[in-house]
């Protein structure tokens, strides 16, 4: 077996001509076959629907739409080339790992097993769908500038509300795992690839499909349930509901597989010397998030599937009149739903704790406690879900228990604050744009977290449940927390990914606009909720009119701040293209010891890790890894070509 000491052989360097590109499996075929698949299976669905007894016309509609989506998914995956490998395996051909890594910019429009390419694809997809969700929010706030007029018709308004929530949650669940997790996990652990590269690409393309499928709900009549999809409303809704069910199910599969991939990679493919206590805290954040993703997403999948059955073949999982119960949906959904919000929060913790040491120039304070905290959050997140149901009519004896577990989860969450505070103690802070976003994370998440304490207390929850107080709470934790941290992460790691600097001044303008208008938008909503404004309404008590107008204007300015971000990216990454160099932030982490952008093979030689990447302030500290050692340590363990020690 050859080692990595010999010069790596070169592959195809000349990109094939355009005509040759058209043949083969890529995005264009994916789109064409998806459309074809949708219409063929939709037609089939109407035929099948006729033959199932007990059907109503709307059931037939739903069967046709759901089968159509299934056909679209199959066509999409066939067109992109995901069936090639399974078919070749079914014919007994040997297993292989690498696909589509050649061909320059075309790699980004097809199945590509280079984790860095998948990460960039995810980055574009997440930004795009975040923009769609954000536009929805701008329209929602437009409607809310009046306390009872309807600029937007009632059904469309509910669809906007539902689309905003669902799109954001679907996309931000993999908002860090996708772009940053896929890019950084192999680099930070000293591997050349993820454990399952083809699966990695699959998760991306499923996400892209799911996003467009969700948007297609608009053409199917929209859906009225919000992202929580409560039954029985979900069972009686029009065909747009099927778009929600199917696209969310695709995201569930994608999320589960992303998590599976990350956990497997970290377990088997760590470079030599990377003991468990040397793994960067960002990777731990990804691992804990992945544990939640692998275990919680399947429950969502099952629940969505049950709702689809209720809508099509007349099962009655959620209909109380025929042996079912809406509480079944509530429990299944929130059993997923609460870990889901920690799937959103944990990557934020990981990013912030990873970036803070670099700009504080101090080691991460309390590394083991931080990791324990993240695992504590992950574990406890499975034990709190009924706090969404305190006034829904659950067994009253359960309420004290769930109140206790919900309050308990603030302990590991508080640990994250402790670690951040300790890292800043007597630091030498540099206020770069990523650092600003990380500091804002602490500010916002504190408010979000404290408001959670109010919600966890049952008597207080009676007034705030289902009101704008909850809205403010989760926007503070998810947007103020995760989104701020993710944007900070993008500012931090984009120079590594593309090799080009971002503009610091534009970044600071973006930051201050976003921070100020974010707080101006969402802090008043705590008051709105306490003053009696329910969620998801377009008409409200006239006494809250002024408050709502103020919030809407602030929200629009918040949207503008994100345009500044977009402008920064477009200008510096596509137009200006000023090289950033290998380590503009002077970080000690492994990925910053490589060139920017990282070459396709990551490491010329798999490095041997010396320490955790936080050795700031230690005079004569060794570098985080040794790059010059031979691939096979004398008398030591074998290092596989891909990374990982056996």
């Amino acid at each position: 077996m050859s080692t990595t000491e010999s010069p790596p052989p070169t592959a195809i360097t000349k990109a094939p001509r355009f005509r040759e590109q058209l043949i083969g499996f890529h995005l264009l075929w994916g789109v064409v076959l998806a459309a074809l698949g949708y219409f063929v299976c939709h037609w089939l669905g109407t035929k099948i629907g006729n033959h199932i007894k007990g059907q109503t016309a709307t059931d037939q509609d739903d069967i046709a739409v759901l089968l159509g989506f299934l056909g679209a998914t199959l066509g999409w995956l066939i067109g992109l080339g995901f069936f090639n490998y399974p078919l070749s395996r079914m014919m007994g051909r040997p297993a292989s790992l690498i696909e589509g890594e050649e061909y320059g910019v075309w790699r980004y429009f097809r199945l590509c097993t280079d984790h860095k390419v998948v990460a960039v694809q995810y980055f574009v997809a997440v930004l795009f769908f975040f923009g769609v969700g954000g536009l929805n929010a701008m329209l929602i706030r437009g409607e809310l500038t009046s306390d009872n007029a309807t600029f937007i018709q009632a059904g469309n308004y509910l669809t906007l509300v539902s689309l905003h929530g669902t799109m954001m949650l679907m996309m931000m669940s993999a908002g860090v795992l996708g772009p940053l997790g896929n890019y950084l996990v192999p680099l930070m652990i000293g591997a050349r690839r993820m454990a399952f590269p083809r699966v990695e690409s699959l998760t991306l393309w499923l996400t892209v499909l799911a996003g467009f499928m969700l948007i297609s709900a608009i053409f199917l009549g929209g859906f009225p349930t919000g992202w929580t999809g409560y039954a029985p409303l979900s069972v009686e809704a029009r065909a747009g509901m099927d778009a929600y069910l199917f696209s969310f199910a695709l995201i569930g599969i994608s999320l589960c597989l992303v998590g599976l991939n990350i956990i497997a990679t970290v377990m088997t493919m760590r470079a030599p010397g990377l003991y468990w206590n040397r793994i960067p805290v960002f990777v731990w954040g990804m691992v804990t998030t992945s544990v939640l993703a692998v275990l919680a997403a399947p429950v969502l999948f099952a629940a969505l599937y049950m709702a689809a059955l209720d809508r099509t073949v007349e099962t009655t999982f959620f209909l109380a009149s025929n042996g079912g119960s809406p509480f079944l949906w509530y429990n299944l959904f929130w059993f997923f739903g609460h870990p889901e919000v920690y799937i959103l929060a944990l990557p934020g913790f990981g990013i912030v704790l990873e970036i803070l040491p670099v700009f504080a120039r101090k080691p991460l304070w309390g590394y083991r406690v931080a990791v324990a905290g993240m695992f504590g959050v992950a574990l406890l997140s499975f034990m709190v879900w009924q706090h969404h149901l305190f006034v829904s009519g659950i067994n009253a004896n359960l309420r004290p228990f769930y109140m206790f577990t919900t309050e308990l989860i603030s302990i590991p969450t508080g640990i994250i604050f402790l670690i951040g505070m300790g890292t800043l103690w007597r630091a030498r802070i540099r206020f770069t744009v990523p650092m600003l976003f990380c500091l804002a994370f602490f500010f916002n998440f504190l408010i979000g977290g404290l408001s959670g304490v109010y919600l966890s207390d049952v008597p207080s929850n009676v007034t705030t449940h289902g009101s704008y107080f909850v809205m403010a709470h989760f926007h503070y934790t998810i947007m103020g927390g995760l989104v701020f941290a993710t944007i900070g992460g993008f500012y931090y790691w984009l120079p590594k990914i593309t090799g080009f600097k971002l503009n610091e001044t534009l970044g600071k303008i973006h930051f201050w606009m976003m921070f100020i208008f974010f707080n101006l938008t969402f802090f008043p909503l705590f008051a709105a909720g306490l003053l009696g404004m329910p969620r998801r309404v377009s008409s409200y008590n006239p006494s809250l009119h002024g408050l709502n107008v103020f919030v809407s204007i602030s929200a629009w300015c918040l949207g503008l701040s994100l345009l500044v971000f977009l402008a920064n990216i477009v200008w510096t990454q596509l137009l200006l293209r000023e090289p950033a160099g290998p380590n503009p932030w002077l970080s000690k982490s492994l990925e910053w010891q490589l060139p920017s952008p990282v070459p396709s093979y990551n490491f010329e030689r798999i490095p041997v890790i010396n320490s955790a990447p936080y050795s700031y302030g230690i005079p004569d500290a060794p570098p985080v890894a040794d790059f010059g050692t031979p691939a096979r340590l004398p008398g030591g363990p074998a290092i596989t070509p891909e990374g990982g020690v056996l």
Partner: protein, 291 residues
């Protein structure tokens, strides 16, 4: 390249900064906690139209009083850090290599655990039958937070449907009224249910919220203490006109209530005769169910 500097470690700087932060925090507490309790406090909803809303208001004030020191500590610490622990000048200088301090970690964990347990106990006490602070929240068919003489409470069934509220009075012949009028200073037991999809009965000023779920009898208790009107809203997304499912209730004297309900029995007799008999839940015929 960066110049790697090393700070001289010693008890000096740690104690100095720590003392300063603690003093600033203590002063901030002395200023802001009273403001939160006595200036902001009375304005924190819900107000005092009922015993439950008053209890919930008190809970909110207590939580705010507890949250303030926590908020201030984090703000003071971070504010101090970003002001004092900053790198001045373009050089990149490392800070001291402090990797952790088990004493601080243990103290923090212990303190947060104590606070959490105290909060949980406080909240649970609020749910016990004797205190009934959580009685305004829907508790299903077997409520835990209830007044001692729950059986003699005035029973009102709240029926949610797309998109209006109606009320049935089992103690008055099962009459159904489109308005909710309640007598003051008397325990009321709401039995909240739905005919189609999930709604949520939110009587804002009363501090009552109970989800209306088909097939479920969701019980909540309240004792109104003021003669006034109150808003009723739907707090669970239920379709197109969810935001318009509003009405106004009224708290009146016992005698005014007796008059009103007697008149209602007569006025709505025709409607009531056509309704199914009073029951805790109502199931539509299979071919008329939602879905």
């Amino acid at each position: 390249m960066s110049a790697v500097g090393a700070m001289t470690d010693g008890a000096g700087p740690d104690v100095r900064h720590g003392r300063r932060i603690l003093i600033i925090w203590a002063v901030a507490n002395v200023i802001f906690v009273p403001i939160v309790i006595w200036v902001l406090g009375p304005h924190i909803p819900p107000y005092d139209a009922s015993q439950q809303s008053t209890d919930q208001h008190n809970v909110n004030v207590v939580l705010s009083a507890l949250a303030t020191p926590v908020l201030l500590m984090i703000w003071v610490y971070f504010g101090y850090s970003i002001t004092v622990f900053r790198q001045r000048g373009p050089e990149v200088v490392d800070g001291p290599p402090i990797e952790g301090d088990p004493r601080i970690q243990v103290t923090w964990l212990a303190a947060t655990t104590v606070i959490v347990i105290a909060l949980a106990v406080y909240g649970t006490v609020g749910l016990l039958p004797s205190s009934a602070a959580g009685a305004g929240g829907g508790q299903g068919p077997n409520p835990l937070s209830k007044p001692p003489n729950a059986a003699s409470a005035l029973q009102v069934q709240v029926i949610g449907q797309q998109w209006l509220w109606t009320f049935r009075w089992p103690g008055y012949g099962g009459v159904q009224t489109p308005y909710l009028v309640l007598p003051v200073n008397r325990w009321i037991a709401f039995h909240v249910t739905s005919l189609d999809v999930s709604h949520s009965f939110w009587a804002y000023e009363l501090g009552v919220k109970a989800d209306a779920i088909p097939g479920n009898d969701n019980v909540a208790f309240v004792r109104p203490t003021q003669l006034r009107s109150f808003q009723i809203r739907c707090a669970e997304l239920c379709g197109l006109w969810h935001g318009h499912m509003n009405t106004t209730g009224q708290i009146v004297s016992q005698s005014a209530f007796d008059t009103w309900i007697a008149q209602a029995r007569v006025r709505y007799q025709g409607v009531t005769q056509q309704l199914p008999p009073y029951s805790h839940v109502y199931y539509p015929a299979p071919d008329q169910r939602a879905g």
